[in-house]
């Protein structure tokens, strides 16, 4: 809801009176200000009202401030809706088309992220941690180490592209800022858990998918396909598996909150891919090619024995049971990832079942 008066570019009549009323002697040698800038606006008199949810970012999309163009040619930092100033040198904002970053949910997700914060230092019930069998503690710390890297990569690739996103789509830039912060908080919580129960960090990930994500320079949409559709969908299953096998309330708190944060990230990712595919000719075909490449890399990484054996130990409750029921449970979890992935690809209009990389397809039997 908003009230709005007509736009205007004239110096407001009230200004001259206000200057006179201010009294005060002019400082000699300083040019007398004209206050002409006070009349320079695209739209004045806007009065957005809060509703029962408060005053949210999306509520501000009224009048010209709600006009989100298909292409934003301005290469300056001008906020959407502000008047351009001649002579501002261009900056390297290379993503200037809406389909390159947009998701309709971005403003809502920003509000959700801002409201649903949590504080690892004081809200996680750290006093519920108890000493675990060494094999289990080592497995937990190994998985946490790799999850920390997942989050590092997410921050890095977002920051790389965020710099290049034009200000015409500020909702997305705002939302992605919260995502970076979510990831920083995840790293904090994971590191604290790893270093507070007699263990330590484990082995660095082989990192093939990390590298693929970081080197995806064809556009933000390509990065989103790898970061969220492939890696992110898998990471969600890992987090859900960890939650089922949490050893105490501290872990339960951390994993359940990370799942909610991560779900928000996936929502943006899936929504952006859908937008891109439905608004850009040929994008579905490009996605097919990208996913063929990405699945191959993902399949190779899934064969890496470190994460799979660590997860199997956690899900089995130790090395012994990790070899049997733990590994069965882990393979089923990977199967769930592949099923989710295929289902989302279908929803996106990029059917993958017939073309699925064999190294990924083999998990469908679990």
């Amino acid at each position: 809801m908003a009230d709005s008066k007509d736009s205007g570019a004239a110096v407001p009549a009230a200004v001259a009176g206000a200057i006179a009323a201010a009294g005060g002697e002019m400082v000699s040698g300083v040019p007398e200000p004209t206050f002409e800038w006070m009349g320079l606006t695209n739209q004045w008199g806007v009065r957005v009202r809060p509703d029962e949810h408060g005053l949210r970012l999306g509520d501000l999309n009224v009048g010209i401030y709600g006009e989100v163009p298909e292409v934003w040619d301005d290469q300056t930092r001008r906020p959407r809706g502000a008047l351009p100033r001649p002579g501002i040198p261009p900056l390297p904002y290379n993503l200037r088309a809406k389909h390159q970053m947009w998701a309709d949910c971005a403003a809502d997700l920003y509000e959700e992220a801002i409201q649903r914060r949590w504080i690892p230092a004081t809200e996680v019930p750290w006093d519920t941690l108890e000493t675990l069998p060494e094999d289990v503690e080592r497995a937990v710390c190994q998985v946490l180490t790799e999850l920390m890297q997942y989050n590092n990569v997410e921050i890095e690739i977002i920051n790389y592209w965020q710099d290049q996103m034009s200000y015409g789509y500020y909702e997305v830039k705002q939302y992605l800022a919260t995502t970076s912060f979510d990831c920083a908080r995840n790293i904090e919580a994971l590191r604290k858990r790893a270093l507070s129960n007699g263990g330590g960090l484990g082995l660095e990930s082989r990192g093939s998918v990390n590298r693929m994500i970081l080197e995806s320079r064809g556009g933000w949409t390509e990065s989103v396909a790898y970061l969220y559709l492939l890696r992110g969908t898998f990471a969600m299953q890992i987090l859900r598996g960890l939650l089922v096998h949490a050893h105490n309330d501290a872990e339960r708190f951390i994993y359940s909150h990370m799942i909610q944060d991560h779900a928000r990230h996936l929502t943006y990712g899936y929504d952006h891919l859908k937008y891109s595919i439905t608004h850009q000719d040929g994008q579905a075909g490009i996605m097919q090619t990208l996913l063929s490449i990405g699945e191959a890399m993902m399949g190779t990484e899934l064969d890496d024995p470190v994460l799979r054996s660590a997860m199997a130990i956690i899900m089995g409750g130790g090395i012994e049971a990790g070899r049997t029921k733990g590994m069965d449970a882990y393979l089923h979890l990977v199967g769930d990832f592949v099923r989710d992935y295929l289902s989302i690809c279908d929803w996106l209009g990029v059917e993958r079942e017939e073309r699925l990389n064999p190294n990924i397809a083999k998990y469908l039997e679990y």
């Binding site: 959700e112 649903r116 914060r117 089922v244 799942i259 909610q260």
Partner: protein, 144 residues
Amino acid sequence: MPQFPSADWFQSVRDVYNSDPSLHSGGGGACDTVAGFKIGAESYLITFEGLQCADVRSAPDKEMNDADFIIEMSEELWTDMVANVQANGKADLNHTLNSIDLTQEESIAFSPVDDQYRQDLFYRFNQNFQDFFDASARVETTFK
């Protein structure tokens, strides 16, 4: 003593949930969604607004499309989950919505109109729903 499942039972859980701010910390903030629960032949719509459960009511099937997502399980699974909450004060790790979902062939949560964005709310607000059902530990419950 309300019987599960029934509108009275959900109303009692809602009263407990709304009266105890410690149950609202699951997500760390506001939760705005309409969730549908299908329990055997019965259906319910639960509206969350901000930190409160604003409304619970039984709903005919045709109204279930109003839900952002629907959680559907057999009556046996629902009863097992609620009984576990009653016994333990909150769901143990094998009886959370997350763990039950992972053990089923098909996901227990789906969008009635195939809207991925709305279906994702099941995960984005998952801990709020868990807190809601965990609140039922304080509702004396009978089962059919």
